[in-house]
């Protein structure tokens, strides 16, 4: 499918203008690559990112343990290269662990001894607690209120990537309740750009789409660098198949809401890798953080942030001249 081109219609807004001031201390992060790309593509992607001004970069295979274009040593080598360039590098664990071999791999990742971990299921959380290591809770860890957040914070969680269905009002409520209870919150990260991870299954939907089972997948997903598009029978964009993960077809784009995000106390905006054009996306968000008005990308959604239906797009602020 076609990569999303975020800047097709607002090149002007992406160019920093003089006289604006940075309104927040929010930082940008790059989420783990969700798709199965050939090794050269992955390495090229991170070589490109390396030269960028400092980012938080999450990496590692989070979707399917059969995807082994890069083994753990190769991921760690990439992590070192990025850290040497001044980035904050975090290694992410698999989101759904079924086999004993996958659990062993998760444990060895936690024990890498060098890089901080993003835990994407409670198995990883347990391994981290046993070793008293600090960690980031990924979007798959269900923390829906200030008490649960505080529980894991007391056990080493220093950053939380919010569950995707939670938005602004929710975050404000968490802040308010935490303040009243005298609780300190961890850093808060939010899904600011990319297709939303909506569901996980034992089944590989990409293999199913070509009439195969997961055990006979023949790595069909390597032919779909941004997954497979699912629309309704009327042609309405709906979902995106990515192996055992189901994503939204639409990109969630919160770039136009930088002020709201800062006001709600978001610390980090997470941008998910896509096959082409992530540079432009990063520029777009840097521009937003610098205080420039941005219009949301065409076809993008932000319903979850508004506390509404996830696939809806809110009223766009008409801030462009």
């Amino acid at each position: 499918m076609m990569p999303v081109n975020p800047a097709a219609e607002d090149e002007d807004s992406a160019r920093p203008a003089t006289g604006t001031t940075r309104t927040s201390n929010m930082r940008l992060s790059i989420g783990p690559i969700q798709y199965f790309w050939p090794r050269e593509r992955v390495e090229k992607f991170y070589e490109g990112l390396a030269k960028h001004s400092p980012l938080v970069i999450y990496l590692g295979e989070t979707v399917c343990s059969k995807r082994r274009e890069l083994d753990r040593d190769a991921w760690i080598a990439l992590a070192r290269m990025l850290a040497d360039h001044g980035h904050e590098v975090i290694v992410s664990t698999l989101s759904l662990i079924e086999a004993g071999s996958e659990l062993g791999a998760c444990r060895r990742t936690v024990e890498n001894g060098e890089f901080t971990i993003e835990a994407n299921d409670m198995s990883a959380v347990q391994f981290l607690l046993e070793r008293k290591l600090p960690f980031v809770a990924g979007p798959g860890i269900n923390l829906y209120n200030h008490l649960a957040i505080d529980y894991l914070r007391r056990n080493g969680m220093f950053r939380l990537s919010l569950p995707v269905e939670l938005g602004r009002k929710h975050l404000e409520a968490v802040r308010e309740h935490a303040r009243e209870a005298g609780m300190q919150l961890p850093e808060i990260e939010i899904h600011a750009w990319g297709r939303l991870p909506l569901a996980w299954s034992a089944r590989c939907f990409t293999a199913r789409a070509v009439g195969r089972g997961k055990d006979q997948c023949r790595f069909e997903c390597i032919h779909h660098p941004e997954g497979q598009h699912v629309s309704t029978r009327e042609g309405e964009d709906f979902l995106n198949l990515n192996g055992v993960q189901v994503q939204s077809a639409a990109v969630q784009d919160l770039s136009a809401r930088a002020d709201e995000l800062a006001a709600a106390g978001v610390d980090i905006l997470r941008l998910y890798p896509q096959a082409e054009g992530l540079d432009t996306v990063i520029q777009r968000f840097e521009s937003a953080l610098a205080g420039h008005p941005i219009q949301a990308a065409e076809g993008s959604v932000d319903g979850y942030w508004l506390g509404a239906v996830g696939m809806e797009a809110g009223l766009r602020p008409s801030t462009l001249p």
Binding site: L103, M122, Q126, Y151, E165, L166, A199, W200, M311
Partner: protein, 330 residues
Amino acid sequence: MKLVCPAGSLPALFEAVDNGADAVYLGFRDTTNARAFPGLNFSPRDLARGLKHARAAGCEIFLALNTYPTCRKLGQAFDAVDRASDLGADALIVAEISVLEYAANNYPDLRRHLSVQGSATTPAALDFYKQQFGISRAVLPRVLALQQVEHLAATAPVELEVFAFGSLCIMVEGRCQLSSYATGKSPNCDGVCSPPEYVSWSESAEGRSVRLNGLLIDRFEADERAGYPTVCKGRYRVDGRLMHALEEPVSLNTLDLLPRLTACGVTAVKIEGRQRSPAYVGAVTRIWRQAIDRLASGRQPAVDPQWHKTLSGLSEGSQVTLGPYQRAWQ
């Protein structure tokens, strides 16, 4: 092997108890549980009556408190824990950290089961919930193959309960946002999936269309059986081809796996269906009771072919599957 059966109403509870359930699980009439549908679930008064009936038959009552309360709903969730304890429930089925912590701190003697919504699939994840909150049992998400269930049963630090029969969630429970993406209402926050108030049916020359919040989930010809528009059971176009991209409208039936589930040490099998009728609950409970008793007696055949026929007739779309327990399904 223990048989855990659903009840969405007092008559359903009577059916489950009278047909041989070892335990009945149910929820309060609010959004503290994952079947928060209109007209379903228990008032404290109903629960007291149900408990009395169950006690007399030696049947246990498990209270499902398995949504993920947001800050504003924490009071309601903790209140539900208090009520469950006051009324004398035998166990709580809980998914969320703060509810587990509250129950463990305030009612240490009230058994805590990790809900399927807690998404725990490994010994390490079970260790977490046992060490932190003292859970004694966990309900497994419907993602593990039978062999993986057997491996887990051999090392799990707590009792295991697995889904045996009923509607089939094909996504990891507790980690599915398909409903909230389409309707804004989610299993985690609201205790509902693809809720009925968002469903609309219409007839046209093209067939019978069913929509969820306006989104076309499927369209049926006159001779096709029309199913409920759960997002994961819809027909969509994948790269232009029309198909059940995620799953067909089928139900789970693991009757044939009962011997292996029993042999590997799984503690309990769970029947899905708190939204189903008392008659349904009674019929399904009766067959599974017979199957468990037959297996324990060693009589052959272990599975009566008539049981399959009856269960298939009760299933969504009349089609059944072994689901993820069988690797070919995956």
